[in-house]
């Protein structure tokens, strides 16, 4: 058995720092000490494997996965599709992608959400799928609404969909948020702006994809996800001191 290849070290310049005072909740939840850097061992290089017995075919269709028969949620019907790739631009196949979001009015189906916009009886707000051999995935849903949140007195989250991805090793585990092209709330959102690199924010912004729309039915946005890449063995590694 060959050991899986090590991952490229994470480029922290594109990730939000733990301590981001503009996002107030981060202040008491951010470690103060530096993280200890680890060579990857098998526990970081491997990760859980998911298959089609773990999920059901309709789990990626948020228009129907919680709706009453014959009904559908209120809102702008969208397809969110893309590919999971690694830093080497290779597809990441057979990996689990899970999403969750507010409804079209900006309200979450969660016992702790008390925003005055109503719950949609036909919308759960979560979906999941497994990427195909090319790393591709697709969800059908409604475009989520913006909503206010307590941070400064008047903060609004841009429309967003939360995305969770596994990859092929636990060190690739990632949760992020997908925003939508042209949303004026993106540049003034304290959570978006925890990210120091403007290009990294652009990379979290899904693009209108007219070619993927269904005419007279559903509009489409493209959102690719990039996970950490693995080194390839060009020469045997002679570890320092060996």
């Amino acid at each position: 058995m060959t050991s899986p290849e090590q991952f490229y070290q994470r480029d922290w310049s594109i990730h939000p720092p733990a301590y981001s005072p503009g996002y107030k909740t981060s202040v008491a939840r951010s470690p103060s000490y530096s993280k200890i850097s680890l060579d990857n061992s098998v526990g970081e290089l491997t990760g859980p494997v998911f298959g089609h017995s773990d999920i059901d075919a309709g789990d990626n269709d948020l228009l129907t996965n919680f709706a009453q028969p014959g009904q559908s949620p209120i809102g702008e019907r969208i397809i969110l599709h893309g590919r999971v790739l690694d830093e080497n631009a290779r597809p990441v196949p057979n990996t689990l992608v899970e999403i969750w979001q507010a409804n079209a009015g900006g309200r979450y189906r969660h016992k702790k959400d008390t925003y005055l916009a109503p719950i949609d009886p036909n919308f759960g707000g979560c979906g999941r799928t497994i990427t195909d051999e090319t790393g591709a995935f697709a969800f059908r849903t409604v475009k989520p609404g913006a909503y206010p949140w307590r941070n400064f007195v008047n903060n609004w989250r841009p429309a967003h969909i939360h995305v969770s991805v596994f990859g092929s090793g636990f060190a690739q585990r990632l949760i992020t948020q997908c925003y939508f092209q042209g949303d004026p709330l993106i540049p003034i959102c304290p959570i978006v702006q925890t990210i120091p690199d403007p290009d990294a924010i652009e990379q979290l912004t899904a693009t209108l994809d007219l070619n993927a729309t269904i005419p007279l039915d559903t509009v489409a946005y493209k959102f690719d996800i990039v996970l950490r890449g693995r080194r390839s063995t060009l020469f045997e590694n002679r570890l320092e001191g060996n």
């Binding site: 733990a18 103060s32 200890i36 830093e87 939360h162 969770s164 949760i175 959570i191």
Partner: protein, 206 residues
């Protein structure tokens, strides 16, 4: 301009937010949507080894428990093999080695049932003490935090563990060691994660 390397940039992380349960644990959010929620059975019915329970809380910099966190665990079976094609020898049928758990909305406590993992090797072939890889997300955590859970009854293996020994500040190694006790004749380990302040848990850049 020299030649371009054509690598892509990793997608930036964003907080899982307060409603992470909707996506990853919808029953906890208050609704039932999937036939199977994932991650609730780490070891499965056929796993060999010692059955254990692990409990803990996640504590913020003000000493308060975090009541909206989600943890994922990734571990080897009792013989040190991971449920992955390149994770060693085949594992018992139904052994997944992966789980997810949330902190309770009222108490902030979490708890899982699993089996105690075996010894694994690091990238240089050195034995690593039994441990579980942990990943923690919550509102206010911008990038998921990685840490490791070791076991207090493995003192000898822990003392030789290459990762624990890499932590320069010896007193901080204790933050990674779950404390064993017995309850109703069964082993229970306690593992509290402190995000900040005195006794801050060691986190890893993996």
């Amino acid at each position: 301009m020299p030649q371009s390397l054509h690598y892509l940039k990793e997608t930036a992380s964003q907080t899982a937010g307060p409603y992470v349960h909707i996506g990853l644990a919808p029953k906890a959010a208050g609704f039932d949507i999937y036939k199977r929620e994932l991650g609730w059975d780490i070891a499965g019915p056929n796993a060999k080894g010692e059955r254990i329970r692990i409990e803990g809380s996640v504590i913020d910099g003000m000493g308060a428990p975090i009541k909206d966190a989600l943890l994922e665990l990734w571990q080897a079976n009792s013989e040190g093999n991971y449920a992955h094609p390149q994770g060693g020898d085949p594992v018992e049928e139904g052994f997944r080695g992966w789980g997810r758990v949330i902190t309770d909305f009222t108490t902030g406590d979490w708890g899982v049932e699993t089996v105690k993992p075996g010894t694994t090797l690091d990238s240089r072939g050195r034995p690593q003490a039994p441990h579980i890889t942990l990943w923690l997300v919550a509102r206010g955590i911008n990038v998921g935090l990685n840490t490791r859970l070791y076991f207090s009854d493995e003192a000898e293996a822990n003392a030789a563990d290459p990762v624990l020994n890499m932590i320069e500040w010896e007193h901080r190694r204790a933050t990674l060691i779950a404390q064993r006790s017995q309850r109703d004749g069964k082993p229970v380990y306690r593992f509290d994660i402190r995000l900040q302040g005195e006794a801050e848990t060691v986190f890893f850049d993996i």
